[in-house]
Symmetry: C2
Amino acid sequence: MAEFFHPSRDDITLTGVLGALGDQTRLAIVRRLALAEQGLNCSRAAAFPDVPKSTLSNHFRMLREAGVVRMVKRGVENINTVRREDLDARFPGLLDSILAAATAAEGPIPLAERADGAA
Amino acid sequence: MAEFFHPSRDDITLTGVLGALGDQTRLAIVRRLALAEQGLNCSRAAAFPDVPKSTLSNHFRMLREAGVVRMVKRGVENINTVRREDLDARFPGLLDSILAAATAAEGPIPLAERADGAA
DNA sequence: ACGGAAGTTCGAAATTACCGAACTATTGGA
DNA sequence: TCCAATAGTTCGGTAATTTCGAACTTCCGT
């Protein structure tokens, strides 16, 4: 399969980003990715037992096409990272304020859901 | 008609707010409302000739139910204001960073679209 | 080559958004 | 008081989007 499509930095739109993050599942994914240093595959970034994987695949595609997440194939898995530099360059402070708001309103990501595998 | 439903401050959700603002029309409405000192009726806040009024009515309802906008009946019109205090209390800095990102990425609201009637 | 792991794609069903038409409520004027 | 205009809402059908199970593809280890 060919590489994934990613919008260039200047093609990232504010409403696109807000819409992508305006969903519980996708926001949770991005929160986990933001915690991870080196990127996470889809299964680790989105370990929600109740959400079918086809739905999760769609969520990752939405995040990618909105310019929030970069996806790179590595073997059998896709490594996802938050496009922090691009987002910070285009919308300074936005991502941090959203992540801070998520933490303030909903608390830190529970340990059981931590992507780094820490117990 | 009864009063409009508004979520209490603590019932405002982050994904609700982001979803409400993740739309060109609704973000433009909120940008205008944020500029206005004393609130605007729907027609002034959303002077988009190409958007039907039933659609605009739905947009205002979404903004209201997400907790972004407060609506008060005054005579034949509804006065809309951004719920700035509630939003700032619940998600400090979020609204400002979104408005700043909108201005940075799309520029200031054009004079012809200014809600204060200034030429 | 086989089997498992990780995701994607497809298609149908469910949900949601859009918009024209009709309706309600309020105000100002004849 | 009655009429018309203004400002929005509601309703109903259609269009667009989202969801999700099943089948498929790709890659890696054995």
